[in-house]
Symmetry: C2
Subunit: 358 residues, 2 copies
């Protein structure tokens, strides 16, 4: 078993902390460690050693990966000429890393939270066992839903597989409207959130890519075979799409996808309110005050449900309810927690305005 | 008639913008002008010229006054060796400024808002007329209350005086609890807020000081007569108290105080919520959006009742309700508008902590 960590993504949803030159995986959002480092340490005990961990990253951030993970062999940092979403990134790992056809690759985003790491590694082991079964399924981890979230994709499970706790996957549902999410939870089939964490044999994912996304598979194979200039040319035109769209959705219709349930305290940390919730949950578990959570020099009087990320300046908060305060040297965000999904649009608009100005 | 502007006060209530080296009168809180400059320009058309305006100020801030009011003759900046509240400041102006006994002095705080300046000057003229009456009363401006505010002192009026719109003052009530404020408004006597704006003959205020605060009057007289070192010595021990406590309350019991009503769009700008309210009222009057008001580089989506004072950094607000955001180079305040009265205590606590550290 070897692990491939995906450290791509622009991360405008966590503006103003996440910026193009230091996006989300490279931020210590939950404490001392960057999310990438935490992901690395989370998966390391599940493999033989650092040589069995690889990171796929936009080449602009490859140096950040080497700084964060000095244990990683240099050849295990796979630098992409540009970000092209997860299908190309996973294809690159499957093609470029010199592994046996039957080796099981687990794929993990670099920027998620897993509160229960021991349970997580047990689930990874179970997923690898399923992936190694004779039918070589593509295995996705299914997160037990806590409510009708509209920000996640859903996995609809079908019949049980022979392996303990594993299901066949009937279909995927992309981020549904609220009514549809409620209907899914109330429906007859077990459903789970799609965490974007996968396990599969190397030969299985390569075959699936060749079958359902042959353009991406061919571009990446050609780029890897031809060397840096060829890879650059391939990435200039390769289709940017997710592995879910490109491979898992069509493969699920052919009965080629399995799901293993994961009840591990997972969050995609996909917005400021998710960061707030993760830090509040941790504070509650540690028996610490939960009215305000965060980092940096701060002083609060009487706030509730409030995240304060201070930088170098003192941040004083007073009587806030469900607010997000993120301070950086050149920009400050203050927002209602239930509006934090809109940060992405604002950050992108600001970036466009900056481009037009400059 | 001559005007004395009181530019003292520490101003911790408007932390983090108001600081010991640049307190509230020297901040452009409502736009381009500092509050001191706005006060000067408000009163100037009511007197013969800049020679008839004086400013009493802590000597640490005398240079700021000269910068702000270059028209002012140098001898009209009365520098106090230390801040000793309004009784000493008014005594200093009454003793030190070489005016005739019958000249009418109007006294104005440097840090208030008056929205209707024309009406304000008409009221000042009316107050000066009352002050010049044969009984030489001490005249206070009474602001028409808009509700049972607990943050202001109240003036309880008695019988009408012969001058149009003037009342005798029956008594003063210091900042009352809510129940008492309601009872005052519902009571039989006309009541008003005490704005700390006064008019009186020079001989009348000197006589009143000699009668009800002889220690303060003697200390200031001795200090002015003896020169800078004597004034410094006098201020080292002079009692720090307000003109209301020291003179107006006892004088009101002797029937020596009169009130002139002032419906002029006044605010003492005594907390961040008052600044917010003043800017919202101005925006509404100008037909501008009122969801967020403030200054500096800022971008808002969907906030209401929110004040944003940005400094050099971009401040993005999203979906806030009744919030105050004040950004400065070394400290940031984010607070619920209805808690802004508590800022003073926090600022004082921070100052103490800083002192203990340093």
């Amino acid at each position: 078993m070897y692990a491939v960590i995906l450290a791509g993504g622009g991360g405008t949803r966590l503006w103003p902390l996440s910026r193009p030159d230091r996006p989300k995986p490279f931020l210590p959002l939950l404490g001392e460690q960057t999310l990438l480092r935490a992901t690395f340490e989370r998966v390391l005990p599940a493999v033989a050693g650092p040589g069995d961990v690889a990171v796929v990253v936009d080449r602009r951030h490859a140096a950040l990966v080497r700084d964060e993970l000095p244990e990683l062999p240099a050849e295990n940092v796979l630098a992409e000429p540009a970000g092209r979403n997860t299908a190309a990134a996973i294809a690159l790992a499957a093609v470029a890393l010199p592994r046996a056809a039957g080796d099981v690759m687990v794929v993990l985003p670099a920027d998620h939270l897993v509160a229960d790491e021991r349970a997580f590694r047990a689930v990874l082991g179970a997923a690898a066992t399923v992936a190694a079964a004779p039918d070589r399924p593509l295995v996705t981890l299914g997160i037990a839903p806590t409510g009708p979230e509209t920000g996640y994709g859903y996995v609809v499970a079908g019949e049980l597989r022979p392996e303990a706790g594993a299901h066949a996957v009937r279909r995927f549902v992309e981020k549904p409207p609220l009514d549809a999410a409620r209907a899914l939870l109330a429906g007859p089939d077990p459903v789970a959130w799609n965490a974007g964490i996968f396990a599969w044999r190397r030969d299985a994912i390569l075959a699936a890519l060749d079958a359902t996304a042959p353009d991406i598979a061919a571009a990446v194979r050609g780029g890897v075979a031809g060397g840096p200039a060829a890879l650059e040319a391939a990435y200039a035109t390769v289709r940017a799409t997710s592995i879910d769209y490109a491979v898992l959705e069509p493969a699920s219709l052919l009965g080629r996808v399995a799901m293993v349930r994961a009840d591990v305290g997972w969050s995609d940390l996909g917005s400021w309110v998710a960061i707030r919730d993760a830090l509040v949950a941790r504070a509650a578990a540690d028996g610490e005050p939960t009215g305000t959570v965060g980092a940096g020099p701060r002083r609060d009087v009487g706030s509730e449900g409030t995240l304060v990320l201070a930088a170098s300046r003192l941040v004083v908060t007073l009587g806030l309810r469900d607010a997000i305060v993120v301070d950086t040297p050149d920009a400050l965000l203050v927002c209602a927690a239930d509006r934090s999904q809109e940060v992405r649009a604002i950050a992108e608009e600001l970036a466009r305005a900056l481009e037009e100005d400059g």
